[in-house]
Amino acid sequence: MTPSQIPKYQFMGEEKVLLSHFGTIDTNVTNQLLRNLKENNSAFECEEISKKKVYKVSVECLENACRHAELNQDQQTSSLFLLGKDEGNYHIVCGNYIEDKGIEIIKKIINEINALKKEEIKEKYKSILLQNNVTFNAEAQLGILDMAIKSGNKLEYEFHPAANNVCFFIIKIQIPRISTIC
């Protein structure tokens, strides 16, 4: 399964799509997507607080996809990034191939974070910052914790089986739309 074969409605319902990317996510793509997000003032009119949160969560999602994506059966690092909004929230959907052996590790990390209260998530984040050597996995964990802190919401995830011991991992984050005086 490749991201382009997955119908868009599986990730986004009736939300208006503001930004979408299907394909390799590397540093150049990350920078271009973040540039587009920064320059898109009309989509975030009077919602500067939310825009900042969307930007921060997007960076962590894109950097995780950039660093942790595995090759699919076509030897490509095909990934996806979607940003949409509905009446109440902004929705970020980010996906990339991972090795099957990573499924349980990721599930455990996200489930543990989802079970924590906001202050507990912050404590967990700080405990990783205080470690002398932050491993590659702890670095990914730090990014996921940051997504939970900034969004203030539970993180959703899916795994779609693919060939050659890899699967397509999707993380979904909701960020509330907060109006500010403008």
């Binding site: 920078n31 930007y55 962590e60 984040y125 910052l129 730090l142 940051d146």
Partner: protein, 132 residues
Amino acid sequence: MEKLEIEATEFSPHVILSSQPTRFEISGESRPENTGRFYTPIINWLKEYKLYLSTNKRTNPQSPLIFEFKFEYFNSTSAKYIMDILFELDSFRADDYHFMVKWYADTLDEDMKEAGEEFSKLIEVPFEFIER
């Protein structure tokens, strides 16, 4: 002591560390491609500065040295190195030199202010929070 200045890019902050006149500031966006390579010279400069102060037997300043953080954004990987910088500032106390942190945050950026507050709980260096 030679100052350290790093120009800002789209994804890395402007850095200025100067002993004469004293100025310590990091400003802008921090998500460098290689975070370790970006922040290591900053941490090394601070270690050298501590040595410079103690070997030159400088009179302890009456007022604390001010380190200004003016981030627009920093990613989680940068947070680890910001923590290392703060620990380095904290270590100056052993030689009787005292840093103070001025932590700037945009009025609409509650996360940035909160991040500073969380950092401040981990070290003895006093923080002043400034909205801009």
